[in-house]
Structures are given as structure tokens and as C-alpha cells.
């Protein structure tokens, strides 16, 4: 069978297009469109006193200037709180254009539309906005101290207090043989897709319809938002995600102000209007993630088994909460990872600051949760003088404990019940892959070369593929071409390949015949979006079900023609044939033709389906009752709950004790996402995730000063790792299929990034013997740490000093 492609490392079909400059990204669309540009707030917190456009009006090429005063109806209302939650007691969102107050540098205040982007920026330069500055809140600690309020009517700066517990944690902690408490921090980074956001809108006045291209992760929902905000009927709006140059979460947020304002202007002006975000806008006008202060208390016994875990987190949500408290919930619920925690209490206080909004960035709260849990494991091991791997091993959920119920509620509102996994198996493979038990020899070797070597590990469990649903449509044309569509969008993940593999395998057709379309509301109107490692799980399964529907119909039609039972037929290489009877067959494309009884013939293929082509049964209608013309099927997959992938990472670092430069010399990944559609694509996802994990641990941060000015809002100063900074990655796989979905798959998109910060913090701490309680860490900070009289030496370092091994 040549068509069973599921599980094969098929080369990505989209790459030829994407890497030879033939992709069609947002800014490739609409060469003649007017250009929009924005005057954005230069202040982190201020009242708008006045907006003076007089000096701008005589710029040649200016078409229109919009301020809040120009917004009407739903556009004049705050942007939606996309995901309401009862514990989000004080949600706040901005307006499409600032309404009298700005709450972060970069908030849009004025939109300019001009003949091109150069002119639009010239106009922006000449618009004078007068501000009255207000006190600025930057960082979780300042928000918590609440000396000043971001939103006047929320004096404590707290948007939400998310609280979950699985029992009464305090008496268990009090009764625990041992306990320890500590506080740690993790900083902001951001998605930083190579392509920023962008919107192109075209209004057809004759048809009263709107077509919008947007670089989004959720075209169907952008469509609904535009229709609602601009008072249009849904059937008059189509939204298409063209090729999207990366998303990583920032493009799941919607509607961005620009996604509403650009269509609004296109309608008002009767002209095509386009806005392509530039890099500085992306830094200050999109979204960040990850800053948290974590206070952790853990009870445990002399063997290192956890008895109780009590976590209190302050989470910086930035100026507004359009995406609700998804990131706090994900941190709270994914923190427990692969471990059996007898009693767990978590409180996440989500606080406002005068900084860019915080919404999911690949990992979406999981890296922070993993950092909390895994560093807790390291602390317990350090206190007890036990191997860090051993402490983890003793706390793992065992393979016979599935389904494992954590008694928590996940981001989809469903219980956190792990469907399957083999966590001890991951740990064994990881130790082997990285050479964990060789660490002390490696440390001595490095010492001889004048380097400090450390090893660290981190394990995670990732809830993937949350509902509510996705759909798929598969249609076989008379040409033999198989059209596949799903509503969720692609940002470079390789969906065209993976979904085609699924259809080729399910339907029995050559992959070359399969064409996949994603994120186009003209083709598929119902979808949720691409986030939470859900595309393969959700659309993959929906498409598989749709393909099975097509197969069933094809066999039924072919059985009539071949005078056989459908159960005796098979489809291979696009040919429907009677099993074991070579030559008794009919091409699938012919079945497609026959599936649509015709009156009119326009080519040879169609002739076969016309009413005089062959005698029919005069007692039956040409289309059977309950049937439909065409060889196509639409189906949906709606899971009962998320499926839980897992993995384990280990890093070996070498540190130069003269310059404190940190070199990741080995990085090992063991990965379990259930059945794998395409191992090459999964490994690519792991590589990309690890790159972002290394970036988040060692290079990236959002350097806000006390005035709320982002000091590194460019690729010169925001240090995304280059290929030269990303270590070689050793990958081993484990496959524990999910029992929850037909294909047995789990998501793989975000996993690679999750344990990076935790594993690297552990490795650096192991190398230098000083407690690492704030990440990311750079050489200059490491230098400060090792020479600070206040920094804490680890117990392990003290024990090593006693044995004469360099700490």
C-alpha cells in the first residue's frame, strides 16, 4: 500500500512555496491599497488632553484621519473580553482608538490613512497629541504594592483572583515531615513572529460585502467580530488568513484594533486599505507573556515525596485583559506536571500594569508552571541531598494510574484528567539520552578545562487539543483532485502536509491529489482557531472523520457499479476495487462523477453522469432519500476534554568562570505526543520550541524602565537567539496514543518551549552552586549573582565543597 502515509516523515509540501519567496503573505496583497498608520501613545499612562491635526492636513496624499470621536455604534464601545470567567472580577479592555486615556506605550490613539505608508507616517509625525501624564505601574511587584492604580476604579490593580484547590492544604503542610518555601520570578518575552500582524480590507459597494485578509490565527472569529462591530450581516463578510509568517499565540488575540479600524476605513472610503505592522509596532502594540512572581510552599517527606503544594502567583496581565485569564488558568493547572500531588492549592492573582497586554505566547502559562514545579523538585533534592532525577521519579504518576484525575478545572472548563502517558518511561529515556549519570565525570572534565559544568532537567505535561470543536470538509472532484478544507488557520506548521497525509491514508489516494485549504471562511465557516497545540488533534481528527465519510459514500456508489458489497471493496491509489479481484475496479474520480447525477454534460467525464448515459432504476429518485449530490463529506470533532502530551528535557551547560558566558553544550528532549502524523514535522516543532525556550531562558526579556518605556523594542536589542545560540538537539520519542480521539494523537506545537527555562535554571544552578531564582539570566546577571554576598549557596555546592569537587 503506497498511500498509507500517516506516520511517515513526508517532506513539507508548503516549503517549496514558502522558502522560495512564493508565499502570499498579508503585505503581498493589495499593492494599490491605501495605507494605514497609527499615532501610538508615547506614554505608559496618561490622559489625552487634545489631539491637534491642523499641521497634518496639508500633507499631500493624506486621505483620512480617525480618532475616537469618529467611532460610532459598537466601534465606540470597549473591545470585547473574549473569554469571560467568573473569577475575572474586573476585566478591562481598550477601545479601538484611545478614549481619553492611554494605559501603555504603543496604545493606538489616531489612525491615518494615506496614499502610501511613507505619507501616512509623515502625517502621523505632524499630529500633535497633548497628554497629561499619570503615575505608572510597571512589573508585578509594583502592581501588587498598588501605590498607584492602572485603572482608577481598580485601586488594588487586581483583575482576577484565580483559585483552585484539591483539598485542605494547610493541615497537610503542618503535618509534613519537611517543608520549604521560596519565591522566584520569571520575566516577559514575546511571540515575535517574523511577520507582524496585518490587515487588508476591500469593500464591494455594489454587493455591500467586505473581504478582509488578516494575519490571524482565528479567521472565523475575526469574521464574527468584524460583523458585530461594524454592524454587518455575517454573510456579507469573508475573512481569509493568507500565508501567515508565524503566530505563536499573538495572532489568536482578536479583534485587534486594526482588524476593525482598517475595514471600517475601507467601507467609509470605498477604497482598499491595508495596514502592515512594523517591528516597533509589534513590540509595543501587540502582546507579551510570562512575567510572574511565584511564592511556593511544599511539604515533603524524607524520601522527597511531596505531601502538599501551596502556590501563590502574581501574574502581570499588562494594561488590559482581552484574553481573560487563560494564561493564569493554564499556569495553575499545568503546574503539577507529571506528578501525583496529594493536596494542591493554587492562587493566581492577575494584576494590571501599564505595559503591553499579556496573552498566550507558545506555552501560554505552561513554562511558568513548569518552572514553579520543576524548581520545587530541585529544591527538595538539594535539601535532602538526593539526585534530582530520583526525587522526580518518586513523585511521578505511574503508567497504571491512567486516566489520572487531578481534580482541577482546565482552560476549556473541563476537568484535568490525563488520558494516557508513561512518565517513568520518559525519565529513563531522558537520563540515557543526556547521560545524566555521567554528570560528575563531565563536571571534572570541564573543570580541567577551566569551565563550570552543570546539568539540569525538567518534565512537563501539556494539555493539548482543547475543544469546543473543529470541522473538516473533504470533496473528491471529477478530475480526481481531493479538496480538503478546515476552518482553523496555519502559520507555518505544515498543515498542508499533515492534513494531506491523513486524507491520503484514510481515503486511499495519492497525496499529490490532495489540496488543503485552511483559515478561509469562504471554504469553511465554522472553526475555533489555531492555539493550544490543537490543530492536528482537532482538525486532524475532523478531517479524518470527513475522509471516512467520503470513503463510505464512495464504496456505496462503487458497490452499485461493481455489483459488489461495500465491505468487499477497498480504495488504493485512487482506485476503488474488489479486494482480491484485480481488474474489478473503478477510479475514485469516476465515482465522484457518478455521485452527482447530471442533466448537462460539458466534458467526457460529465457525460457518464447524465440521465441517458445508462439505464437507471425507474422506481428510485436519482438522489436517494437522505443522500446528497457530490462525493463529499463534512464532519466535526468535538472532544470530551483535552488530551495530555508529555515530555522531558535535559540541558548541559558550561560556564566560563572568567566571563560568566553560558554555553548550552547539550540539549536532550524526550517527547510523547501520542501517535505521530509526521515525525519530521514534530521534530521541527520541537526544534523551534527549544529555540524559543533557550531564548526565554538566556536571552530575551522585555526591558521596561520605571516609566513604562520599552528600552529594547527592536531586533537589535531584543535578543532572539540566532541559529548560533541554539544548541544541537537530541530527540527521542515515546508514543502513548490518546484514547480520546480516532487518530490517537496529542498536540505537539508548544511542547518544545515549556521546560527550557526550568531545565536551564537547574543546569546553571548546578554549575555555579548558587540559587537561581530569577529567569532569564544573562552573563552580567550571573556575574552579579556569584559575587553577591546575598546570593544563596546551594546545599549541593556545600556538599561538593566538602568533597573537594569544584562547586
Amino acid at each position: 500500500m503506497t498511500t498509507k502515509l500517516f506516520g511517515e516523515p513526508v517532506r513539507r509540501r508548503e516549503d517549496q512555496r514558502l522558502i522560495t519567496g512564493k508565499g502570499r503573505y498579508l503585505d503581498d496583497i493589495g499593492h494599490t491599497a491605501l495605507a494605514a498608520a497609527f499615532v501610538r501613545s508615547p506614554h505608559a499612562h496618561a490622559r489625552i488632553v487634545s489631539i491637534d491635526v491642523d499641521e497634518a492636513l496639508d500633507v499631500e496624499g493624506l486621505v483620512a484621519i480617525y480618532t475616537y470621536e469618529d467611532l460610532t455604534g459598537p466601534m465606540a464601545e470597549p473591545l470585547p473580553v473574549l473569554i469571560p470567567h467568573p473569577q475575572l472580577h474586573s476585566p478591562r479592555t481598550g477601545f479601538p482608538l484611545a478614549n481619553g486615556e492611554v494605559n501603555h506605550v504603543g496604545e493606538p490613539v489616531v489612525m491615518v490613512v494615506a496614499t502610501d505608508r511613507y505619507v501616512a507616517e509623515d502625517v502621523c509625525d505632524r499630529i500633535v497629541v497633548t497628554y497629561e501624564e499619570l503615575p505608572v505601574v510597571v512589573g508585578v511587584d509594583a502592581a501588587r504594592a498598588a501605590q498607584h492604580a492602572v485603572h482608577e476604579e481598580i485601586p488594588d490593580n487586581i483583575a482576577a483572583r484565580h483559585h483552585q484547590e484539591t483539598g485542605d492544604v494547610e493541615p497537610v503542610l503542618a503535618a509534613s515531615p519537611r517543608a520549604l518555601s521560596f519565591t522566584q520570578y520569571i520575566e516577559r518575552s514575546a511571540c515575535m513572529p517574523m511577520e507582524g500582524k496585518g490587515v487588508h480590507a476591500k469593500w464591494d459597494a455594489d454587493d455591500s460585502s467586505l473581504r478582509v485578509y488578516t494575519s490571524t490565527q482565528a479567521s472565523t472569529s475575526v469574521r464574527a467580530a468584524i460583523a458585530a462591530k461594524l454592524d454587518l450581516s455575517l454573510d456579507k463578510v469573508e475573512v481569509i488568513a493568507p500565508d501567515v509568517g508565524g503566530g505563536f499565540g499573538v495572532k489568536i488575540v482578536h479583534p485587534w484594533p486594526e482588524e476593525l479600524l482598517v475595514p471600517m476605513a475601507a467601507i467609509a472610503l470605498g477604497r482598499e486599505v491595508k495596514w502592515a505592522e512594523d517591528r516597533r509596532e509589534h513590540f509595543i502594540g501587540s502582546a507579551h507573556e510570562r512575567q510572574q512572581r511565584q511564592e511556593i510552599t511544599v511539604g515533603y517527606d524524607d524520601d522527597g515525596r511531596i505531601t502538599a503544594l501551596d502556590v501563590h502567583i502574581w501574574h502581570d496581565n499588562g494594561a488590559y485583559t482581552p484574553y481573560g485569564i487563560i494564561v493564569p488558568i493554564v499556569t495553575a493547572t499545568q503546574l503539577v506536571g507529571p506528578y501525583a500531588i496529594p493536596v494542591y492549592r493554587v492562587i493566581v492573582e492577575s494584576v494590571f500594569t501599564n505595559t503591553v497586554i499579556v496573552t498566550p505566547y507558545r506555552g501560554a502559562g505552561r513554562p511558568q508552571g513548569c518552572y514553579a514545579m520543576e524548581r520545587t523538585m530541585d529544591r527538595i533534592a538539594d535539601e535532602l541531598g538526593l539526585d534530582r532525577a530520583l526525587v522526580r521519579e518518586r513523585n511521578l504518576i505511574q503508567p497504571d494510574q491512567f486516566p489520572y484525575d487531578h481534580h482541577l478545572t482546565f482552560q476549556d472548563g473541563r476537568p484535568v484528567i490525563y488520558d494516557s502517558g508513561d512518565y517513568p518511561g520518559l525519565l529513563v529515556k531522558l537520563k540515557d539520552l543526556v547521560g545524566w549519570d555521567e554528570a560528575s565525570r563531565l563536571r571534572s572534565d570541564a573543570e580541567a578545562r577551566g569551565k563550570l559544568l552543570g546539568v539540569g532537567m525538567a518534565l512537563y505535561v501539556e494539555g493539548t487539543g482543547p475543544g469546543p470543536y473543529e470541522g473538516g470538509h473533504v470533496q473528491v472532484l471529477g478530475s480526481g483532485k481531493v479538496l480538503v478544507s478546515t476552518g482553523l488557520t496555519s502559520q507555518g506548521q505544515g498543515h498542508e502536509t499533515a492534513f494531506a497525509q491523513i486524507v491520503a491514508s484514510e481515503l486511499g489516494v495519492p497525496i499529490e491529489d490532495v489540496e488543503v485549504t485552511t483559515g478561509d471562511t469562504r471554504r469553511f465557516g465554522y472553526a475555533v482557531g489555531t492555539f493550544a497545540s490543537r490543530a492536528a488533534v482537532m482538525s486532524g481528527n475532523a478531517i479524518a472523520l470527513a475522509a471516512r465519510g467520503v470513503r463510505e459514500k464512495a464504496l456505496r456508489i462503487a458497490a452499485d457499479v461493481l455489483e459488489a458489497e461495500p465491505a468487499d471493496l477497498e480504495i488504493d491509489e485512487g482506485l476503488v476495487q474488489v479486494k482480491g479481484v484485480p481488474g474489478t475496479s473503478i477510479p475514485l474520480r469516476t465515482v465522484a462523477v457518478l455521485s452527482n447525477p447530471l442533466r448537462y454534460a460539458f466534458d467526457e467525464a460529465a457525460r457518464q453522469a447524465t440521465q441517458f448515459a445508462k439505464p437507471g432504476d425507474d422506481d428510485k429518485p436519482p438522489i436517494a432519500e437522505g443522500d446528497a449530490p457530490g462525493l463529499e463529506h463534512r464532519d466535526y470533532y468535538s472532544p470530551i476534554r483535552s488530551t495530555f502530551a508529555s515530555g522531558a528535557h535535559a540541558a548541559i551547560v558550561e560556564i566560563d568562570p572568567a566571563t560568566w558566558e553560558i554555553d548550552v553544550v547539550k540539549y536532550a528532549v524526550v517527547h510523547d505526543c501520542g501517535n505521530v502524523v509526521n515525525p519530521m514535522i514534530v521534530e521541527g516543532q520541537v526544534h523551534g520550541g527549544v529555540a524559543q525556550g533557550v531564548g526565554g531562558a538566556l536571552y530575551e526579556r522585555m526591558a521596561y524602565d520605571a516609566d513604562g518605556q520599552l528600552q529594547n523594542a527592536s531586533f537589535m536589542d531584543f535578543l532572539m537567539p540566532y541559529a548560533s545560540e541554539v544548541p544541537d538537539i537530541d530527540i527521542d520519542h515515546q508514543q502513548t496514543p490518546s484514547p480520546l480521539n480516532p487518530l490517537g494523537i496529542k498536540g505537539a506545537g508548544e511542547a518544545g518551549v515549556i521546560p527550557g527555562t526550568a531545565a536551564l535554571a537547574s543546569a546553571i544552578e548546578d554549575a555555579v552552586g548558587r540559587r537561581i531564582a530569577s529567569m532569564p539570566i544573562s552573563p552580567t546577571e550571573l556575574y552579579d549573582l556569584v559575587r553577591s554576598p546575598d546570593s544563596e549557596m546551594t546545599a549541593t555546592a556545600g556538599r561538593r565543597a566538602g568533597t573537594g569537587v569544584m562547586a
Partner: protein, 289 residues
């Protein structure tokens, strides 16, 4: 991130260029690797850009026994690969190899980098360390300006409005001398957190005679520090390079920015000085042999 409006001129002779440069707010465009980002961020908005890329004769590297003269249109990469130039002054290739990434080295010019006077540039540092000079052309004629008179402040030189730097000259490495260049950057190819270039000169009897160092991303303008006193007279094999590093730490006045504290830069000045001096001394010893 689109530049403000500007007039663009692409003269085909130096005289023509100088004529246009006499306009108020005119700025020279060579490789554009620093200027164009500044324009795009509207941090600079010159009225006229004078593109000198079409002027013949500015792309030559001239090597004599006395030194290397680099024309205003010589790209970093061309200098990096110029064997004759590195034979006479090895610091040129050693420093250009640390300038950013290949794409930038292919377009960016060494003279442009010097004229930009960025103290975090490798070539400004090496220009000072080698006791270089530039040729400055104005409508009144050409004059040679030594590096000490050239650098005035960060991104600021003494050349008058309307002038163009047509070449930079790097004197040859003295006899019985060796050089080294090293830097610590957050990412490969980034501006250095700290860089160090050194020249060690030995006496006929292989004792340390002279030690000079210049740093990258340390201080407001390029400086050359004489570290000789820390190791003067030591036989080359026994010289205490750590002492020279320690001396260097006392001589520099680095700043703090978001990538490194002043203290950390000072640490690196010491470490990189010690390491580069050891390498340069070994090279000098080889040449003195």
C-alpha cells in the same frame, strides 16, 4: 518605520558629491548599515542623502610597507579577505571578522563605520589602536586627520558639514609585534558587550617593550590605553598578562546598559586584555624569532 522625505543624489564624481553635500542637512550614504535603520526609525531625517556608491576610485585597498589605505567604498568583507592588507596590519582582518554578520559585512563599509564614530564599532577601535588617520575631502581640498582629532563624542566627529571621508589609513604593524582581537557578544555577530584589540611589541632581546590596547563598547569614544608599565621589561614567556588586565580595568570607564553593567564590562576588559595579550605576545615572539 519608513523614513521621512529626503532628496536623493547619486553623484558620479567626488566634486559633484561635495557640491551637493554643501546643501543644508546633507548626509553621505555609503553602505547604509547604520544610517538606513536610523532613517527608518526617524531618528535621523537628513534633507538630502548623497549616495557615493557611483563615484569611481573609492573602492581601492592600497597596501604599502607603511600601512593600508582603505577607500570609502571598501566593504568590510573585502577588507576581511584582503590578504595583502592583513599581512601588513593583521588587526584589520581580525577586527572585521567580528563585524556583525556576512550580509552586513557585504554592504557596510569600513570607512563608513569609522565616520559613524560608534564606540561599539570594531573598526573605530582598531582605527585608534593602529594610530590611524582619515582623509577628509571638502570643496577646499583634502586633509589628513589623525584619529585623536577625529573622534569628538559618540556618533560625533570633527569633520565639518559638507565634507566626506574618502579613505582611512591604518599604519603597518611595527616590527617584533603581535596583535589579537577578541570580544564577548550576547549573540554571535551582535555589537560586542566588550571587545579588546591589543598590540604587543617586543625588544630585540624578546622582552616586552610596548603594550597597547583599545576596547569596543567601553567609553564614549575610542581610546588607546598604554598598558606597558604593568609588564615592561618582562621576558615575553614570563610576562604577567593578568597584571596588564588589572591595570586596564583601572583605566577604563565603561557604562551600564540593558545588556551589561559597567562592572561586568570592566570585568571583561580585564579578562579579554589578559587573553588577547597572551595571544598577541605569542605572535610577537614568533615574529621576533
Amino acid at each position: 518605520m519608513k523614513p521621512a522625505p529626503f532628496r536623493y543624489a547619486d553623484p558620479s564624481s567626488l566634486g559633484e558629491a561635495l557640491a551637493v553635500l554643501s546643501d543644508e542637512g546633507a548626509k553621505v550614504l555609503a553602505g547604509g548599515q547604520s544610517l538606513l535603520p536610523l532613517l527608518s526609525m526617524r531618528l535621523a531625517a537628513p534633507a538630502t542623502l548623497v549616495d557615493i556608491n557611483r563615484i569611481p576610485g573609492l573602492d581601492a585597498v592600497e597596501v604599502t610597507a607603511d600601512g593600508v589605505t582603505v577607500g570609502a567604498l571598501v566593504r568590510h568583507d573585502a577588507l576581511l579577505r584582503h590578504e595583502g592588507a592583513s599581512a601588513v596590519q593583521p588587526l584589520l582582518a581580525r577586527a572585521t571578522a567580528n563585524v556583525a554578520h556576512p550580509a552586513i559585512r557585504n554592504r557596510g563599509t569600513t570607512v563608513g563605520s569609522i565616520a559613524h564614530a560608534d564606540p561599539s564599532g570594531e573598526m573605530t577601535s582598531v582605527f585608534a589602536l593602529t594610530d590611524g588617520s582619515v582623509t577628509v575631502a571638502t570643496t577646499a581640498g583634502s586633509e589628513v586627520v589623525g584619529w585623536r582629532d577625529f573622534f569628538v563624542g559618540p556618533l560625533e566627529t570633527s569633520i565639518p558639514a559638507g565634507a566626506v571621508v574618502t579613505a582611512a589609513t591604518f599604519p603597518a604593524l611595527p616590527p617584533r609585534s603581535g596583535t589579537a582581537f577578541a570580544e564577548v557578544a550576547r549573540r554571535k555577530g551582535d555589537y560586542a558587550v566588550c571587545g579588546a584589540g591589543v598590540v604587543v611589541t617586543l625588544s630585540e632581546d624578546r622582552r616586552v617593550e610596548r603594550v597597547l590596547a583599545s576596547y569596543v563598547s567601553v567609553g564614549l569614544t575610542p581610546e588607546v590605553h598604554d598598558l606597558t608599565e604593568a609588564v615592561a621589561g618582562s621576558p615575553v614567556e614570563k610576562a604577567d598578562w593578568a597584571a596588564a588586565g588589572a591595570l586596564a580595568r583601572t583605566l577604563v570607564d565603561p557604562d551600564t546598559d540593558i545588556h551589561a553593567s559597567a562592572d561586568y564590562r570592566r570585568l571583561l576588559v580585564g579578562v579579554l586584555t589578559e587573553r588577547t595579550l597572551a595571544d598577541a605576545a605569542a605572535e610577537a615572539a614568533g615574529r621576533a624569532a
